[in-house]
Subunit: 349 residues, 2 copies
């Protein structure tokens, strides 16, 4: 086995697992030649699949597991039972130092709970957050939290801002990322008390971060800022509204092209350009939500993803590991004066 | 002056006022022949405009006002000063029984505050909500609250459900509307305590409403339910993310068609179909957010709207008035047992 980066793959998570995991790993292997995998799952299913991809087989080690966490399993079951699940074992590989990160398309709640329990949060981070890359008119932005924390304190939001800033710098390659706090109006008088105190908290920090103040929902697709900070409830709704609106538009567009002979012909002529459009908005391109703030890189691929989406999710993990995302967070937080280091607080709402 | 429905128009609100208000009223006049208008604003500006539309002039009465509420005016200023503003005077016309409703493209916060102060809420409704129609894959749905109440109690959400249900029946013409509560997961274990108690509140009511339980952000554009109930913070973010994502997609599409000679030719061939697509997603088509729960119909047109959007906003007001929206709400609430009538409560969060 060769390679510099070792990733643990939960081969049994996701609607199309394990085939799409293996095929996705094969795409990622070509893109990132320094990669090798620990593949957790049912060996009887994985071995025949891997035989189809000889080169991939050379950088993969199968770790047989006997249990699977189902999409509807409650967190308690994932945590207390199913000790030999592919997901849990893959996360354990990270905590034991065998792998630098883990990628799973399984049950989000279970992944969140297991990763937090096994890996623990980074020093100075009280709660992990789910972050993802959104396509924008200006390029790409990172949005967090997308659902890990239904209720947040201003300290949580402050920590999300720092993690988002480091993510934009290390993964998106933005040299001086701007940060916006999602609100219902740009004026300082609007919004929850919580949001206002979070804004004050971010404004006061001596960390060299570029806080752009409040932004609104349409600023996310507009790309007004590089990092969008919000609580997990609002972020999850925003993510799903954006995805659903995208599907609505592509559906309406498809129906429009079917309207007449002329529009069908027009479609054929414009097809290469329309394919470029489709690729630009392809949700698989933005697959790979990451759980930030843990001792180890944890990437969540979409439950319904295919091999292309899973390969992109692996790519996000590779970027975070190779750019030293976690080391950067720790470094950033250590720059805070000791009296500014966020302490664990109870929910303020 | 003839006609059955009298609407008060704030002719000075909106970026393109007063011209777009007059032109919008002229479009609406053709669509709704029973309509006549009280037009509030600067007579020196309005009289020359109205001279251009002779027929409209016959169903319009100008009410001269000397002040205007600016987009950035604080609510306190709108409420306590500017007593002769076009917006305030138009709302007063409703409270004094001269008009059945008011349409304004002015400052949302000021309209909300003034309308609530002048008109008061309907019996049984503790807080008004902003509602709007969203395009969906199945047709149209109504979403509320879109920003009137940043924080809500479960009683507020219950009342929004009733108002949304009546709106879907009377304005959208759905005979048995389904109601969903916006959450981050369909499972009953997820979400805020507040959302859970609101769900229980809606489930327990003896009103004959069809509660479909929790829905997620992508269910809005999918049209899973006819009525989406949420707090004003989440609703506002959802609205703006949907609008912004729509703009992102049309921008990307425009760029795609410009890519090559073939795609430009394809565009020309498909143009009628693409125009139909554009019309289907045209935000002006869904202009006209309404303030539900007040003694009088109050419609808010988009600040940046043009005459077409303003005409549609007038149409929403006409529908609500002619379908007896408010009488239906009162009727619905009176069917609740007296011990179930929602009492004014303080914020629970």
């Amino acid at each position: 086995m060769s390679g510099d980066i070792v990733l643990a793959l939960d081969a049994m998570g996701g609607d199309r697992a394990p085939a799409m995991v293996i095929r996705g790993a094969n795409i990622a292997r070509v893109r990132h030649p320094s990669l090798c995998f620990l593949v957790f799952g049912d060996e009887r299913k994985l071995a025949p699949l891997l035989r189809k991809f000889r080169r991939l087989g050379q950088v993969c080690t199968i770790r047989h597991t006997t249990e699977v966490i189902e999409p509807n399993d409650r967190m308690a079951i994932a945590l207390r039972q199913r000790k030999d699940s592919s997901m849990r074992r893959a996360i354990l590989a990270v905590s034991e130092g065998e792998a630098a990160g883990v990628v799973s398309a399984g049950n989000t709640g279970a992944l969140m709970a297991l990763a937090k329990f096994v890996l623990k949060t980074l020093p100075g981070i009280s709660r992990p957050a789910i972050a993802s890359i959104f396509p924008t008119r200006r390029g790409e932005s990172v949005v967090l939290d997308l659902g890990a924390n239904i209720e947040c304190t201003s300290d949580n939001l402050f920590q999300f801002a720092i993690m988002g800033e480091v993510f934009a710098r290390t993964v998106l390659g933005v040299s001086k990322p701007t940060i916006g706090l999602l609100n219902v109006g740009e004026e300082e008088v609007k919004g929850h008390e919580l949001i206002k105190s979070a804004a004050a908290r971010i404004q006061e920090t001596e960390l060299p971060i570029e806080f752009a103040g409040f932004i609104e929902g349409d600023d996310i697709p507009a790309g007004t800022v590089d990092v969008v900070v919000t609580d997990g409830f609002t972020g999850n709704v925003a993510l799903k509204v954006a995805e659903g609106t995208g599907r609505l538009y592509t559906d309406f567009l498809r129906a429009a092209f079917r309207r007449s002979v002329f529009s069908k012909l027009g479609y054929l002529l414009a097809r290469p350009a329309l394919n470029a459009f489709r690729e630009r908005v392809d949700p698989r391109r933005y697959d790979g939500a990451t759980l930030l703030g843990l001792n180890g890189v944890v990437v969540k691929s979409h439950g319904g993803t295919d091999h292309k989406g899973f390969a992109n999710a692996i790519g996000v993990g590779v970027d975070m590991i190779s750019q030293g995302f976690n080391a950067n967070i720790i470094d950033e937080l250590s720059r805070l004066h000791s009296d500014q280091v966020p302490e664990p607080t109870s929910a303020a709402m």
